[in-house]
Amino acid sequence: MSRKIVIEPVTRVEGHGKVTIHLNDAGEVEQSRLHIVEFRGFERFVQGRPYWEAPVLVQRLCGICPVSHHLAAAKAMDVIVGAGTGDGLTPTAEKMRRLMHYGQIFQSHSLHFFHLASPDLLFGYDSPPETRNIIGVIAANRELATQAVLMRKYGQEIIAATAGKKIHGTGAVPGGINKNLSLAERDVLLKGPRPMNADAMVQFAQGALEFFKNYYSKHKSFIDTFSSFPSNHLSLVRPDGALDFYDGVLRAVDADGRKILHDVECQDYLAHIREEVRSWSYMKFPYLRHLGPDTGWYRVGPLARLNTADFIPSPLAQKEFEGFKNVTGGKPNNMCLHTHWARLIETLHAAEMIRELLNDGDLQGTDLMVRGKREAEGVGIIEAPRGTLFHHYRVSPEDQIVMANLIVSTTNNNEPMNRSVNHVAKALMTGAKEITEGMMNGVEVAIRAYDPCLSCATHAYGSMALSLTLYDASGDVIAQRTR
């Protein structure tokens, strides 16, 4: 008799989801699925609202990555107001937005690594969840925990200084930005009392990388093989191939490094990206149109970005990037837990770029806005901490939004997250008659590598936890656990 396991909801990711695992008569894992059980409704909500409200409205989506939505919507509205795409803004506006974005990446990546990933690394994913958390990290590595708090705080202060406030920031507006960075604000962030300054943050980011690399040297086999599988990878890159979180062209490579999406313009994304609907999930499955859903699915996020980019335009991160690429001989890295490594390299890059920007006098410029020929349609794409984020709007002559389509990072990672769950399920649950803590944790670790934000992906309120149910071939529940 075949069986089915369900895990719902998943801890330490946002939104609401469950995992189901089906076993066949031989007790082998036949099929695993990450289900998203909330409903998308945000696109309809913004219809009828004035286009200039979008950069603030979209922050209602989620409290986890509001800055990413704020900037993606602002970029789309730049196109609507005729300010061009990406590089059409004034230097002050573009650099203020970039600083805001680097602050977001820095604090989000720091949170993920120190608070969500490092407990798994420090204590092992089979350790009890009561100790596998940040309080446990304090006991095991006080310095790491202290730095984590300060990195989060620093990133939040960057956001507050550039977006105007922490909640529902208004910094980015269609065609530019509504404030520059005063010298006083700059000095606090650049040269504040140690450790709350840019130099210290670069050092903290380097320290985090050393922590990971030290762990990797002792647990290479686990890190290399846990939920490792080939995939395509997609992200923005700068037109010269550099890693760029804020703007660029869309590039995808396959598992061997061949380009399968050749640096296409963001405004043309619909010609290249499609979303498949599957009956068992509210979250769609994006894929490259010319390859189809079976072979055109892709990963996004830190691992994907380091696989698509040719180089990182900051010296310390570039050096780390070279070491990262050496592990796979320059080929794309398809090892799921190497995402943590990639995330830390990006954290270092963000810290370097924050320091570079704070030394740039353009941030004190007063030319903040650009306007041009009004357009009816605009696309804004950004590399959010979790991966590529698409915002696409059409606006009526009366300035009302008449269509919105958002493809969030977690949706882009839908297929790879499902494959990761399947990979782990096959390794841990074949022949299972009950759901152990180790099984629950293994599935969580795989999903968590993608740092999913299901609240955002489903456009639903709230947080989630994990429940797992095991079904047999006839659909009967054999075991269920909820956390």
């Binding site: 922050q59 986890i64 309080i135 989060r152």
Partner: protein, 189 residues
């Protein structure tokens, strides 16, 4: 809807008493304790923003007079860096919307919780306090002011019922913020 005599705030459960603060309780003629009021939630999600709106309105009220002992802050969610802010205070009052079937609102004491409910990208108030205690040795007296919410859609404004709860909560907490020596009607450790 709660009134000022609502039992669920005036008579909190015995195990929800706040920890003893490092500093002694304030005497009437001593310097007021440093008080942080921290609202969290998403003001774009209807009643979820009650905590943030309460803090905005209290901050506006506080600016009308000389009350240097008061600090206000807010964010979408609580997180690790808030442990730093809590460590600088004698009293921390977290304000949040609640899905619980409260009679309007409730104030209860908080203890640091080592059993961290850090299950998402956000932290609970108890885990922020635990982080503050573990990292900085700080144990401010802490409370959670919960205001019942009813709707959570991305439609902006509070429901009328949630607005009433917010107003009641504000009326309840303001005398203490104005004159901390009057104390809060919950047991202190």
């Amino acid at each position: 809807m709660s009134s000022r005599s609502a039992p669920d705030r005036a008579s909190p459960e015995a195990d929800s008493a706040p920890p003893e603060a490092d500093s002694a309780p304030p005497e009437a003629d001593s310097a007021p304790p440093r008080i942080l009021v921290y609202g969290y939630g998403n003001p774009g999600r209807q009643d979820d923003g009650a905590g943030v709106l309460l803090v905005e309105e209290l901050a506006a009220w506080a600016r009308s007079g000389e009350r240097p002992w008061l600090t206000f802050d807010s964010n979408y969610q609580l997180n690790a860096e808030d442990a730093l802010a809590a460590a600088d205070q004698d009293v921390v009052i977290f304000a949040d919307a609640s899905r619980d079937q409260l009679e309007g609102f409730r104030l209860r004491g908080l203890q640091p919780s080592a059993a961290v409910s850090f299950s998402t990208h956000a932290m609970s108030p108890e885990s922020v306090l635990a982080l503050s205690a573990e990292l900085y040795g700080a144990r401010p007296a802490a409370y959670l002011l919960s205001m019942r919410g009813y709707r959570w859609e991305p439609n902006g404004a509070l429901t009328r019922e949630a607005r009433k709860n917010l107003e009641d909560a504000k009326a309840f907490i303001t005398p203490f913020l104005d004159r901390p020596a009057v104390g809060l009607p919950v047991p202190s450790a």
